[in-house]
């Protein structure tokens, strides 16, 4: 059996384990979840270690001594492990928060705030432009000013809410499609003609095992809604 088929089979088996949580928490789903977290944890740990090795230790080895500071900062994060030394970890956090926020702030002003305002300054010569201008202003007002809801502002508030509800409705419709695409992506691999029969067999085995567990009360039956 070649590695690709073996991989598809393993993937199919663990996917069924993960999907079995839909029936209710059960040993298969719990094992699958723990294996998932373990492997992903290991993968993230090693990949980040490789990044540090390459881009901090590597640079240090090439004579860039300033990266000693980066490594010391990285080690200082370990202060989080004990509340007494938590203050030590503040210094690396300060670097990430300070630099990160500074970088986000400087471009947010131009790209998000001014850029979007500029794009809203449209001539009132078409329905689309009018919708865009009124929608943006009222939605921003609804989003930013939450207190005053009387007088003329009441209408601004209502219009803003309508535009936001439309935005959420569109996002909801798109999300439903996205979630189905996720299942389809997995099912395509599970129902690959080369492994489909095995997938059905795995479903059957897990179903029988669960049924036996529920019948003998070795697994608690989840009553559902």
């Amino acid at each position: 059996m070649d590695a690709e088929i073996l991989g598809l089979l393993a993937g199919s088996l663990v996917s069924i384990g993960a999907y079995s949580v839909l029936i209710g928490d059960n040993p298969f789903s719990k094992i699958t979840e723990n294996i998932y977290m373990g492997i992903l944890g290991g993968y993230i740990f090693v990949t980040n270690w490789d990044f540090i090795q390459k881009n901090a230790i590597g640079k240090l080895m090439n004579g860039d001594l300033v990266y000693i500071i980066a490594l010391v900062l990285a080690l200082m994060l370990l202060g989080r492990l004990k509340p007494k030394y938590l203050w030590v970890s503040r210094y690396p956090v300060v670097v990430t928060v300070g630099v990160g926020l500074g970088m986000a702030m400087r471009t947010t002003v131009t790209a998000d705030f001014l850029g979007q305002i500029q794009a809203t300054l449209l001539p009132w010569n078409s329905l689309n432009n009018i919708v865009m201008v009124i929608g943006t202003i009222t939605a921003a007002a609804y989003f930013i000013f939450t207190a005053q809801k009387s007088g003329v502002y009441k209408y601004v508030n209502t219009a803003g809410r309508v535009f936001l509800l439309c935005a959420f409705g569109v996002a909801y419709g798109q999300t439903v499609s996205f979630r189905m695409e996720l299942v389809i992506g997995r099912l395509v691999a599970m129902l690959d003609p080369r492994v489909a029969m095995y997938t059905y067999a795995f479903i059957l085995i897990i179903a029988v095992a669960l049924a036996y567990g529920y019948k003998t009360k070795k697994i608690e039956w989840y009553s559902g809604r």
Binding site: T47, F51, T107, D112, V170, A171, S177, G185
Partner: protein, 279 residues
């Protein structure tokens, strides 16, 4: 208990089972229906197609394990499109998992390339690998590549990569292709590369994120967008390079209809109950 009550209290696992069947059935019995090209996809394709030969693009691969099946086919097509046009690609990822899937997409695209297409690692494309730090990491990379990373995905030192000769920041790139998947990272590309360096950007995100980024399209900050599996299928169609996305896009039919039927049924039962004064 009335029938409406009983139906409304239907065990959710029956709904799950119905959904499973609705999504699996078209995969086992594929039917291809005509599909309109969305405006955003057409814009993204037109922009990609207008990138001149010899340009260098910076390409973020943000697809993960869950989103690769829907975005991967489109990303493969985009890489194929660029390399066959003679556009050079500089890849990177801001997630550890995404790094793996970016490499998978590159390998898949390379296998599909027509014989003779120049696609030498380090000359026509380079994968810089995983860049930690999120938005700050992107900012760091595009402001000084050599200060951020020492070597690429294959551990080749940056100074030994011919493609990056004379390039150390985003001014060396002509376009940004941001395949952010469900990372929600498209604004990073806009904020840290496109706006500050004045480089046009396009790309892909999952279907659910399209509305979030639509204001950037109407503001002209984003040159179109491929959304989810539908976007991937449209790219395959527009480039006339058939792939797996079309079949997956078709598989959403029954699931979508089932969802709509469930919502309609739920609402009808609710109004029936309300008319009877039960709720």
């Amino acid at each position: 208990m009335s029938i409406t009550d009983r139906l409304l209290k239907l065990d959710q696992r029956i709904i799950y089972a119905l959904m499973f069947i609705a999504l699996a059935f078209p995969i086992l019995n594929p039917v291809v229906l005509p599909m309109a090209i969305q405006g955003y996809s057409q814009d993204a394709f037109d922009f990609s197609d207008s990138i001149p030969e010899g340009s260098i693009v910076i390409f973020e691969g943000g697809l993960g394990a869950a989103t690769y099946p829907q975005g991967g086919p489109g990303m493969v097509v985009q890489i194929y499109h660029m390399l066959t046009k003679g556009v050079k690609c500089v890849f990177f990822s801001i997630g550890t998992e995404q790094n793996f899937w970016t490499m998978t997409a590159i390998e898949t695209a390379l296998k599909k390339l027509p014989a003779g297409t120049p696609a030498v690692n380090g000359v026509d494309w380079v994968h810089l690998g995983y860049i930690a730090g999120g938005e700050a990491g992107v900012g760091s990379l595009v402001n000084d590549i050599r200060a951020t990373i020492e070597a690429d995905y294959f551990d080749t030192p940056i100074d030994d990569i011919p493609l990056l000769e004379g390039i150390n920041d985003a001014t060396g790139f002509d376009a940004v292709l941001w395949w952010g998947g469900s990372e929600g990272s498209m604004p990073y590309g806009i904020r840290q590369i496109s706006v500050p360096f004045g480089i046009p950007i396009t790309g892909m995100c999952t279907t659910n994120e399209v509305p979030n980024f639509s204001p950037y399209i109407s503001a002209g900050q984003l040159q179109g967008l491929f959304g989810g599996v539908r976007g991937s299928a449209e790219y395959e169609f527009l480039l006339k390079l058939p792939g797996p996305a079309l079949g997956q896009a078709m598989a959403t039919n029954f699931g979508g209809l089932l969802w709509m039927a469930m919502v309609l049924l739920g609402n009808i039962l609710y109004f029936v109950q309300r008319m009877k004064g039960e709720s």
